[in-house]
Amino acid sequence: MQDERDFCENALQLAVTQGADYADVRLIPHAVSENISVKNGVVENLEYAESGGFGVRVLLNGVWGFASSSRVNEKEMATVVENAIQIAKASAITRQRPVKLSSALIWKKANYVSSVQIDPFKVSLEEKVDLLVKADQRMRQQSKKVKITECEMTFERFRKVFVSTEGSYITQEITVSGGGISAKAVEGDEVQNRSYPNSFRGNFATRGYEFIEAMDLLKHAPRVAQEVEELLTAPDCPEMETSIILMPSQLCLQVHESVGHAVELDRILGTEITYAGGSFLTPLLDQLGSFRYGSPLVNITADATLDGGLGSFGFDDEGVEAQKFPLIQEGVLKNLLTSRETVAEVNEKLGRDYFQSSNGTMRASSSNRIPLIRMTNIYLEPGETKFEDLIASTEDGILFDTNFSWSIDDLRKNFTFGLEVARQIKNGKIGQLYKNSLYTGITPVFWNSCDAVCDRTRWEMFGTPNCGKGQPGQIMEVGHAASPARFRNVKVGTRKK
């Protein structure tokens, strides 16, 4: 819309008049979200949220200033621009190294709309509620031990306008759909959880309601309830060092925590120390291109163009086009997640132009937040092993599925994951079910112990809708994918102490 563009252009003009060397405006004219949750057979939450706002980022004498408001009008815009300028001027009193932006292709008029087959906001509330209530009912019918059942759907759509003093004018409309089911069984002091298709609200994608339909929640509901009942009487996971097989949803989180965050260049350069932390790669920067992150079977790609990926978009929040590139090739670290600012800075540190330009990973969670380097869709490329062969070739080990909890140190090195389900593998066969399981390890040691990755037939995508970073905090939606893989000599045990 012309008036949206005019609003942004006017803000830029004002910023330049007040001394900005560079400025960009992100306007979110309209964002909507809908959350429906059914708990123990009744609709517990039906929530609809509408929002909008704009943020102005200015670069003045090599320092940033940013201000935002939820009130989108000319008077407020003038206040916000002035505020951003004053903030930048204040920032200057500690300036040592002026910010330089690496060059980027300017998109004078571009538009991106994520792919949607069935508009989730046009599907009736009755239909959505009915599906969740039925799934919930099937779980409770399956097992008397199930005390809490939860079924949930979330839909989001936002329109975003990006305009910069360099001449960019980009509009995007992204739709997100997600959902899942979970059951909790309680007996005495024992509480067990089981979820489908993933824990923590299910699975998410930049797709329409067709994504929910494809989950087939009704088919999986009885299995979820049956498995959670079985967990109540299963023994605790034994403490030992053994081979482990991670199923895709857990492996996606492993990629997220121990690769995705570690390769964010802002963390590596120390700009997240006060909250999210740093990266063990900081002292290894000069080994970029040669550092052995994992075994030769480990190939990890960043891909913002992945169809339906939760971390897919057309352009990042600096106006850089979405890209696909290898991060780790045959186990060797080749690339990092970068921005226009960090590319210039890291090349200076490396003393060579290792990076030519930003690879387009700067995103802000909303108009009132600045863009930060965020994961796009970070995935483990499939290998060649058939899943059946993977199991058959494992003499002793544990198969882990579905995350229960996660924790990793501030350098992304020492991690511990709790799981919903663990199963013993003995002489090439899946056997005994274990509850309360966890595994723990050290990032490069763990990835170097990978000796098998399953083929594309078992490759699954999972969206992570709750990735936290930044101050003030930002929750970002990012995507992952993986097929099952095996890791040797991993410490496993019980999380119930």
Binding site: V42, Y48, E50, S69, K89, T94, L125, G418
Partner: protein, 464 residues
């Protein structure tokens, strides 16, 4: 900031429109805030932001069904649409208990703590304070990472039973991490009155800790076999205690967790669950912490004990959960749109003792680990509140009453309820407030002591 007058105008207008819907009950929560945050990395300001936000949320209850909606587009049209959507949502199957009766909440006597000088704190004020930290650290050969947040906010609640309340508050919090050759140290300070922040003491504290990092950290897991665990007595600074307390509240004091049989207090109210030296309560009116005079549905705050001298005493309720469970609200509602999350205490206090941190260190003859704070704590087991996380920004080994070496960050796996049965010493409580700032600005904090706890379990280190 909207101000009480305009906030009430918005709420009254929304109430009038909502009344025309003839719903059984509705309530509105209006929150607005002006928040600014300056961030330092590598000893210079690298991020410096400000936001001006206002969000209105509504819960409509009709025919024992509930619908929620919210908007930050505070136009008449968007507010009416929000109410329409929430009302329409009540046509679906959202069954509430028949006994549910929400009521009018009178305006409490206490007001929020609002200080003009905090609200007017400028970007330059924050930058100058941070420059002071940076310059002092640089003189000591240290790199500064820091965050300084100042802001003002307001909360207004209106419901169809006549409640119409408003409070405003301010917030100033500063935290920094200084990094040297060996490791990092952390400190934080906060007050609702920015003029009360003691920058000199804050810098002294940071530099004092940094001097302890004068040698390479020891890896206590060096030479250990995979799977080995080690147990140490620990001294936790208040920041670390506060993090554990937040998880206790989230998993144990939330009335929803209790009634879903996930709380460690299940079946144990009135029984001894922790050591006799442990008392934990919530009090939004105590000025030693951040002041929140009423909860997000307007219930005036009062002192609620969850643990008293080791006994389980109560869990937190809002009106909805209280109606479902035949209990009384304790004033811990999260308000319109958030009721499905249960009820949470946001202004926690833990009773302290008479031992200073210095005494705790000096009296530790056996090897003891000093922990400044934790990183990425998460729940390993909800029912027993078993947590895992890493130590961070100042982990030290104490031997024979003295700090003898920094230690490579350790991973713990420990039941907090169990640990609170083994508290040996408690210091004077202090205010802890270093918010993550994901959503609205709210006056939430904890006031907790440093603790010395016997035998905490560690299962690894950053080195291993």
């Amino acid at each position: 900031m909207i101000g009480e007058k305009q906030a009430f105008e918005i709420l009254r207008s929304a109430l009038r429109y909502a009344e025309s819907k003839k719903a059984d009950y509705f309530d509105f929560l209006l929150m607005s805030w002006q928040n600014s945050l300056t961030r330092v990395a590598n000893s210079q300001i690298h991020q410096n932001v400000s936001e001006s936000e206002a969000v209105l949320a509504v819960d409509v209850i009709h025919n024992l069904r509930i619908g929620s909606a919210s908007t930050n587009l505070l136009t008449e049209d968007s507010i009416r649409k929000m109410i329409d959507v929430a009302f329409d949502s009540t046509k679906h199957k959202a069954q509430l208990p028949a006994g549910l009766r929400l009521k009018e909440f009178p305006k409490g006597e206490k007001e929020g703590k609002f200080f003009e000088r905090t609200a007017e704190f400028s970007p330059l004020d924050r930058a100058q304070a941070l420059k002071n930290v940076i310059d002092n650290a640089r003189t000591a050969g240290l790199i500064t990472s820091a965050k300084f947040q100042t802001g003002a906010g307001e909360i207004a609640v209106a419901n169809s039973q006549g409640t119409l309340v408003h409070t405003c508050f301010t917030d100033a919090n500063l935290s920094a991490i200084l990094t040297g050759t060996n490791d990092s140290v952390y400190s934080s300070t906060a007050s609702q009155d920015a003029g009360e922040l003691n920058l000199e003491r804050f810098i002294e504290d940071l530099l004092g800790k940094a001097r302890l990092q004068n040698q390479r950290p020891r890896d206590l897991f060096a030479g250990k076999k995979p799977g080995d665990e080690i147990f140490y007595d620990v001294i936790l600074e208040p920041a670390a205690v506060s993090e554990w307390l937040d998880f206790l509240a989230y998993t144990g004091f939330n009335g929803l967790s209790y009634h879903e049989e996930e709380s460690f207090l299940c079946g144990k109210l009135g029984q001894k669950v922790m050591g006799e030296n442990v008392s934990i309560w919530d009090d939004g009116n105590d000025p030693a912490g951040y002041v929140l005079p009423f909860d997000f549905e307007g219930t005036p705050k009062s002192k609620t004990f969850f643990i008293e001298k080791g006994m389980g005493r109560n869990v937190a309720y809002d009106s909805l959960l209280a109606a479902k469970e035949n209990a009384a609200t304790t004033g811990h509602s999260l308000g319109a749109g958030q009721r499905h999350l249960g009820a949470l205490p946001l202004n926690l206090f833990m009773e302290g003792g008479e031992q200073s941190l210095d005494y705790m260190i000096a009296s530790s003859e056996e090897p003891t680990i000093y922990v400044t704070r934790f990183h990425y704590t998460n729940i390993a087991d909800r029912r027993d509140v078993v947590l895992t996380g890493m130590t961070k920004d100042g982990t030290f080994l104490i031997e024979k009453g003295e700090i003898v070496a920094p230690v490579v960050n350790l991973r713990y796996l420990q039941g907090v309820v169990e640990a609170f049965n083994h508290i040996e010493m408690l210091s004077d409580p202090v205010l802890v407030h270093d918010p993550e700032g994901y959503g609205a600005l709210i006056p939430s904090s904890s006031v907790v002591p440093a603790l010395k706890i016997r035998k905490v379990r560690f299962i690894g280190s950053s080195g291993k």
